[in-house]
């Protein structure tokens, strides 16, 4: 029986994903990305409030969709990022995959919470109630719980290397489970509430709402990328702090 260490092929990906290299090249990316995010939001908000007409069915409440839809999209996209990073952690044991997972979890939770909040705000004028036990709202709420559980698990571990691999297992199990939860919630909803107010396909999408929707989705995605990158950088720095502190404590302890 032979054990081999994870091979390091010095390909382009390995090189840019090495923690030291990563810190080097991302340093020059953060500021442009932040500026691009700000510009996209400026453009998006202008289109949302000044350059798009009210929807012929929803009226002005359509303007809430321009925040709701991008945050809802990010709430799932974050999980996809965590899922692929979890595979990176378990299969290749890549340190940057650990860092990416850890950085994405709070962002996912925040965007999911925002999607729920904007959904509730939109629900009041549309359904007449803030919270409707609607299939989408309910499964989004469960998704929020899963994010919070994963964050709690991260925090329960002292050894962050072990935490990354354990959390990866939960993330993968969650990924298998989320569709099942979605299905069960939909099944439950047809049981209790045959006629849903909120049609999944939505009202026919007019071109006039498509532009602000796309621009805002782009802006939110850029925001996620920026925040994720900065948080990854912070996490790499924290690990560096930890090893420096360890070395210092060892030196001060007068170890032989």
């Amino acid at each position: 029986m032979a054990q081999t260490s994870p091979n390091t092929h010095p390909g382009w990906f390995t090189r840019i994903a090495h923690p030291g290299m990563f810190m080097g090249w991302t340093r020059h990316v953060v500021l442009p990305l932040a500026i691009a995010t700000a510009l996209a939001f400026a453009a998006g908000l202008y289109v949302v409030f000044f350059a798009s007409p009210p929807d012929y069915q929803m009226g002005d409440t359509v303007r809430m969709m321009y925040v709701h839809v991008p945050t809802a999209w990010l709430s799932q996209f974050c999980y996809a990022v965590m899922f692929s990073s979890a595979i990176g952690t378990l299969v290749w044991r890549h340190p940057m995959a650990d860092v990416s997972q850890k950085a994405a979890a709070p962002l996912g939770a925040a965007f999911t919470a925002l999607a729920l909040f904007t959904g509730a705000m939109w629900g009041r004028p549309t359904w007449g109630t803030f919270w409707e036990w609607d299939g989408r709202m309910t499964s989004t709420l469960v998704l929020l719980f899963i994010y919070l559980g994963i964050i709690a698990l991260w925090r329960a571990f002292d050894d962050q290397l072990k935490a990354a691999r354990i959390v990866s297992v939960v993330t993968l199990v969650g990924a298998v489970n989320i569709p099942i939860i979605k299905f069960s919630v939909d099944w439950w909803q047809t049981l209790h509430q045959p006629a849903s107010v909120f049609r999944t396909d939505g009202p026919t999408v007019d071109f006039s709402i498509l532009t602000p929707l796309l621009v805002m989705t782009l802006a939110f995605s850029l925001l996620f990328l920026t925040l994720h990158l900065v948080r990854m950088r912070t996490e790499v720095t924290r690990r560096r702090i930890r090893s420096l502190e360890l070395a210092q404590a060892r030196a001060a302890g007068g170890a032989p």
């Binding site: 297992v169 969650g174 099942i180 069960s184």
Partner: protein, 220 residues
């Protein structure tokens, strides 16, 4: 196969000999089921309408209570490390442990059902349906709980984190388990039972791999 049966019979023996745990579990299930009517009020029609929900919430909580000890004692006394040198893979051994755990924590709930059925005013049909859903659904609870127990086995205060992870994942079991009782829908019961059984089969088949992976990581 010898290893599989050895684990199964050892866990059953230990569970039955330390009979206190078994009794506590059943007692907890019944107490939760009996306490909820106090919160709702002694309205018999309402209670019998709520009975499936009460039974399933009690079952969920009782199962949650039992998961932490699934791997902890084997982890702490070094047995898990030795399992890695067995002739059977750790996945297989974990599967054996899951079956033993279900026999010790899922099945007794069914045995305690008549008490709750009486107190909650469940009809005979309702009683049998409740028994069927518990039988079909609790293996899935065991499977999800095993994953929660495995990922927190290395944590001293793991008992607190595990339920937060396990409960959202158990939602489908709760939905199908109680959904079977819906009187308004024709075929809801058989549909829900099928879905529960499918969920239990798939999760019992897959959970050992996830749990064994987490146990290997925790053992390092």
């Amino acid at each position: 196969m010898t290893a599989f049966l050895a684990i199964l019979s050892r866990d059953l023996k230990l569970g039955l000999r330390q009979g206190g745990d078994l009794l506590t579990l059943v007692l907890f299930f019944v107490i939760v089921g009996v306490l909820l009517p106090f919160a709702v009020g002694p309205d018999r029609p309402l209670l019998s309408q709520l009975a499936p929900a009460i039974i399933w919430v009690a079952a969920l909580l009782a199962q949650l209570l039992s998961h932490d000890r699934l791997f902890r004692s084997d982890f702490e006394d070094g047995s898990l490390a030795l399992f890695r040198q067995a002739s059977l893979s750790l996945d297989g051994l974990v599967f054996a442990k899951l079956i033993a755990h279900w026999l010790l924590t899922g099945l007794p709930l069914v045995v305690a059902m008549p008490v709750l059925a009486l107190v909650l005013g469940l009809s005979a049909d309702g009683f049998w349906l409740a028994v069927m859903t518990l039988l079909a659904g609790t293996p899935a609870l065991t499977a999800f709980g095993a994953i929660g127990a495995a990922v927190t086995v290395g944590l001293k205060r793991g008992g607190l984190v595990a339920p937060v992870i396990v409960l959202p994942m158990s939602l489908p079991v709760l939905i199908f388990g109680t959904g079977a009782f819906d009187p308004a829908r024709v075929g809801a019961a058989s549909q829900a039972l099928l879905l529960l059984a499918a969920l239990s089969l798939v999760s019992m088949a897959l959970a050992p791999f996830a749990a064994a992976l987490a146990l290997r990581i925790s053992g390092e």
